[in-house]
Amino acid sequence: MPQFSLYEEEFHPSPWQRTWRAFRASHIAMAGAVLLAIFVIFAIFAPLLTPYGANEQNIDGLLVPPSWMGNGSISHLFGTDSLGRDLFTRVIYGCRITLGSAFITVVIAMLIGVSLGAFAGMLRGVRSSIANHFPDALMAIPTLLIAIIIVAIFGTGLVNSMWAITLALIPQFVHHTRSLVRSEMKKDYIVASKLDGANKWQLFTYSILPNMTEMLVVQGTIALSIAVIDIAALGFLNLGAQSPLPELGAILSDGLDVTYLAPWNVALPGMTIFLLVLSINVVGDGLRSALRKRVNH
């Protein structure tokens, strides 16, 4: 059978390339991505980018206003806090700690949640019912409550708050993985793979997992924004990261004591959290609509 190859050399983008194209087409999403990239760079290269140490106190410059204010100093871009620590430095380290720990939290939650969810999704019968409904019930327990209990058992600290948030995030991943696995399991290509002789584990790794990446990316961004807000909230409530640690929520809570004298100590860390979360959400939104477009295409 002769093949005409007039249009063989044409470019067919792979699924991910198509997502990226659709994503790139949205200006807002790109702006969010750039902002997020800046935050990530801040987080990764914090020690190189910051002029001072995170806990370096400068006794001579307490509560120096940000540099754009009348009596601000150029050597402290965001001003200093009540211990004379450079706020810019602290905020950048804050990005590192908050974003970094949120990221770790999400990755751990994802690993656990996806395994459990896959397990629950492939199971049948009563065991599956239990595996299905238990995470759903857990999902209903507010993060703050879990955090409070963890703090009560293990004490305060960033790591403990990360565990709490991990626990709170896991059910989401379980839920989504499970419903995705269940719906994928009903699809014909799974039947085809089964006929090829694939066992459950092979089905999962070779057939379902590639289809799950999108869900994981989307859920991951959602979880990341939740994790950032929650870590900051726990830090703010003094249930998470403790004071000298430059965690954005803790910095904000520190700044609250000098709100009237140095409002930037509240405004700037808060603004940073907000922008961080906003950029994550915008990117997540962009990704979601890009994926949607790809599916609709």
């Binding site: 067919h12 014909d188 039947v191 090829d196 002789g197 092979q202 289809n211 990446t213 295409h297």
Partner: protein, 268 residues
């Protein structure tokens, strides 16, 4: 011609486990007796929801039967159970093309990986050998070697059908079962596919069991026709016999309906 497949007392009641406070769906299929010869083409026809697809799935083991035995190539399978090595052997012997070929392709996995799967799971070939086999098979079904790297979304319906075919014949089975392989295709692609299957059948000595509503094609390629109604085989026989002297009312209805569409005129 020798028999490649014997089906004895294949029965299916319902797969839905009885659940608390839930009425199980009841559909009874069979008992089915069936013999397929080497290189034979068997067509299954029947009304909607008569259990054709179900029968096909039972044959390949995609759905577990309640009773019965299938013997392929002198190897007996209890249709009721699905033992590990039995399944593997069966994969070598009998393969299926599912109804909607496009949905049987994983959208996130390139063609190469899809076709790799049966080889990886059922043979001892190493990666490069497998790739060679896959590329050969791609050529055999009328595609290009480059299609190895394509994703589902880049392929047309006909090409997808060919991939499904490639996947099915990759392990050189004795029996190929296809569920409405031509229904979703348009006329010109359909003819191509028919030709392809005919050629492959000749080349590999495949027994081909297919389900179709298109009696024209059935008449053209089938050696034997099976008519189903409500989970039972109501008539079975040589194609020409069925088309000319249908016995059962269901068969009669089907054949009449077909004839009423085909004008007794010929071109030229």
């Amino acid at each position: 011609m020798t028999d490649v497949m014997h089906v004895k007392q294949l029965t299916f009641l319902h797969n839905e486990k009885k659940r608390w406070l839930k009425r199980p769906e009841v559909f009874k299929l069979g008992p089915i007796e069936l013999t397929v010869k080497r290189g034979e083409t068997v067509a299954i026809i029947g009304e909607n929801r008569s259990g054709k697809s179900l029968l096909a799935k039972l044959l390949v083991g995609a759905v577990r039967a309640d009773e019965g035995e299938i013997e392929i190539n002198e190897h007996k399978y209890l249709a009721k159970y699905k033992s590990k090595d039995g399944q593997r052997k069966r994969t070598h012997d009998i393969r299926m093309i599912l109804q909607h070929s496009s949905e049987t392709m994983n959208p996130s996995v390139p063609v190469g990986r899809i076709l790799d799967e049966p080889l990886r799971l059922n043979t001892q070939l190493d990666a490069s050998e497998r790739k060679e086999v896959i590329e050969d098979t791609l050529v055999k079904v009328g595609l290009l070697r480059e299609h190895y790297y394509f994703y589902r979304n880049m392929l047309s319906d006909g090409q997808q059908q060919r991939i499904a075919l490639a996947r099915a014949i990759m392990l050189k089975p004795k029996v190929l079962v296809a569920d409405e392989p031509f229904a979703a295709l348009d006329p010109s692609i359909r003819s191509q596919t028919v030709n392809l299957i005919l050629a492959l059948q000749q080349e590999l000595g495949l027994a081909f069991i297919f389900i179709s509503h298109n009696l024209g094609i059935v008449r053209h390629i089938a050696d034997k026709v099976i008519v189903m109604e409500k989970g039972q085989i109501v008539e079975e026989g040589k194609t020409e016999t069925i088309f000319r002297w249908p016995q059962h009312t269901r068969t009669k209805k089907l054949v009449t309906a077909y004839h009423s569409l085909v004008p007794q005129q010929t071109i030229r």
